[in-house]
Symmetry: C2
Subunit: 394 residues, 2 copies
């Protein structure tokens, strides 16, 4: 029986994954293929299938009905596979060159079948290894501007926007963010995870009521402000890169949220590289931060002028106010990401990978201080150059 | 054939409306009843059915599949009947004494069958006739605090809040508000409707870029900020009142939006009475405005302290910041309502009913100036007393 005809979930094997892409004529029935499961097994299966003759590579990604984090397993909606597939397709309408091609999706099986990108490297890994990725910030700036503008009230008829907001309602994955980024790190919560040497600094955060007040406001923005269809998890581990290409993957956290969240997550993760790099290599990352914002705001500005359907778009000062709000949100969300990835659940290898204990603790303290400052100063800062100067000095 | 079994829409008649309430055993089969259609025929049929023996009154409200405004008719979703019925039931969980009892609803027929409230008067009509309604502001303050708190992220698990936000997605009726309150009055749009004597003042609005900038921000808040399940159209025509009772009706515009919108619409409509009344009667309305905010904020504050599920609720300063945001939004939305009801589509009898032309034009100019000031000063004002002082002086 054909796999899709069963119309129900079953975990794929290497064999049935191959059968599936052949049933769908993505690879010809007669082709000689290899198949390898390359996922980390925590959230998804990822099958890499290769047509030996043509060299065509295909990825079959299947969501697992649970998540494994720190050894534990908890149930997790399969709907996230549909969200991910639909977000890839929706964002692909606006930036086809910056996301993987989707060949097929199936809700029952919770799968997305897409272009194999394994000639590229996960940007986080590459950056840790000292890569420069000259196209990274320009491409991500473009990705951010086009996907966020095109799914916002600035570009869509209100019926279409509200239909998308319903389609991408994503409570379970949003809750992970609400807890792990916006709540737990600011309280003495058992999901937190940090070295004993950091306890003083962490308790300092918990006692910093000004910081917690601002974190509360940022969380409120995250849970109430449906500005655009976000990627929702745009850290450097969700980006494939090379010297010449950039592809954004894994939008399973996609939902309608505040525009600054996607930008802030990306920039926050670049800040880890600012902290761990020195000299010219640090400058490359600072330039990426500056360029991401500049490309984002310049492309968004052009789209605003040329394509906005909002009658108020031409009112003097509105664009500037809109941009300043995004800028301020961006810094705040970047600050939350810096804190969360340092002391909350789910760390980053940029910091945890530092072998020397003293250096690692020092880098983590810098990450916490930088995150705190970005959150507290986000409304005072008005230009990306100020942020760059601040990052250079700290 | 029983009406409900047909499972499809058909316009009720006085006869089938009676048949329906008997099928549903809301009134016994054997009862002698009278039935009268009392709607205005623009948006809904409203059948008033009375059991002659017991005196029990029942309202059958049925949505029409179109709206008639200024002679024209355009198609309008029947889903609004479901939204209205579900909003009455949801808000009724928190303020059962302040909304009509719902006996039955049916999605196919687009009907809500509810308590007859015709012993009460529409508050707008009563206020225009000089009624004091001593319970009005206390009841509405309570209604606002309890419905808005209880449907917000402060009170609900995020899964429940997001499921409600999807259930109450209401694009068509929101678009009416987006156009008629937030957009058209600020542009030279053909839906606008005002006397030639107002043209100078109206062109003044259209040329006031500061005002249009602030209107743009308020519109953005309306279309993006899913803070709580709003009534969505809480003007004094959506409230039944007497000396001893208050009931909020007609929540067909219900959706997840900014909390200040409901409060602002109600207060804005009271401001019309401030403008047209003199002496002691004016003071009564000013007191209602002050008391609405004070009861709202004091009940919300108690709920916040005792029932909030948000871990940040106890962080010093968060409640104050949250309230200030609501206060500022409230003034801005009240200002938009004042302008819209004066020069946009769908006026209010408070102003249009003034027979003397000079007095009417003067009152309308005051409404425009007051609306403009509330929008522009909303971030400077921090206490309801300032608003009262401002209203007394203008």
């Amino acid at each position: 029986m054909a796999i899709l005809e069963k119309q129900k979930y079953e975990a794929l094997t290497e064999e049935t994954a191959v059968q599936l892409v052949k049933e769908l004529n993505i690879i010809p029935e007669s082709a000689q293929v290899t198949c390898q499961e390359i996922g980390d097994g925590n959230l998804n299966y990822v099958f890499k299938i290769r047509d030996e003759e043509t060299g065509k590579g295909v990825i079959v990604k299947q969501a697992l009905p649970y998540a494994k984090v720190v050894g534990e397993s908890w149930p997790l909606t399969l709907k996230r596979a549909t969200i991910e597939a639909n977000a890839l397709k929706k964002h692909g309408e606006f930036v086809p060159n910056l996301v993987p091609k989707v060949y097929a999706t199936d809700e029952n099986l919770a799968i997305t079948i897409m272009e194999d990108l394994s000639h590229l490297t996960i940007a986080r890994t590459g950056l840790i290894n000292g890569e420069a990725y000259p196209k990274l910030s320009g491409d991500i700036g473009e990705y951010l501007a086009r996907t966020l503008f095109s799914t916002s009230d600035l570009a869509l008829h209100p019926f279409e926007k509200k239909a998308l907001a319903v389609e991408f309602s994503n409570p379970e994955l949003c809750k992970i963010t609400e807890d792990l980024i916006f709540t737990d790190p600011f309280f003495d919560h058992d999901t937190n995870d940090f070295e004993p040497e950091l306890r003083g600094a962490v308790e300092g955060l918990w006692e910093n009521n000004q910081l917690r007040l601002e974190a509360a406001k940022l969380k409120k923005s995250f849970v109430t402000e449906a500005e655009a269809l976000l990627h929702g998890d745009l850290h450097s581990g969700s980006i494939f890169a090379s010297e010449t290409e950039t592809k954004v993957i894994d939008p399973e956290f996609a939902f309608y949220g505040p525009i600054g969240f996607d930008i802030g997550l990306f920039l926050g993760n670049l800040v880890f590289q600012v902290i761990v790099r020195e000299g010219e290599k640090k400058t490359i990352v600072l330039d990426h931060i500056e360029n991401t914002w500049n490309v984002f705001s310049s492309v968004l500005s052009q789209l605003w002028e040329k394509e906005s359907v909002e009658p108020f778009a031409k009112v003097p000062g509105y664009k500037e106010a809109y941009f300043q709000k995004i800028f301020s949100d961006t810094l705040g969300f970047a600050g939350c990401e810096l804190i969360r990835r340092t002391i909350g659940l789910s760390h980053v290898k940029d910091l945890d990978g530092i072998e020397d204990s003293e250096q690692r603790i020092s880098a983590k303290k810098t990450a916490l201080a930088t995150g705190t400052a970005l959150i507290l100063k986000r409304n005072e800062m008005t230009a990306i150059e100020e942020v760059i100067t601040f990052l250079k000095e700290n």
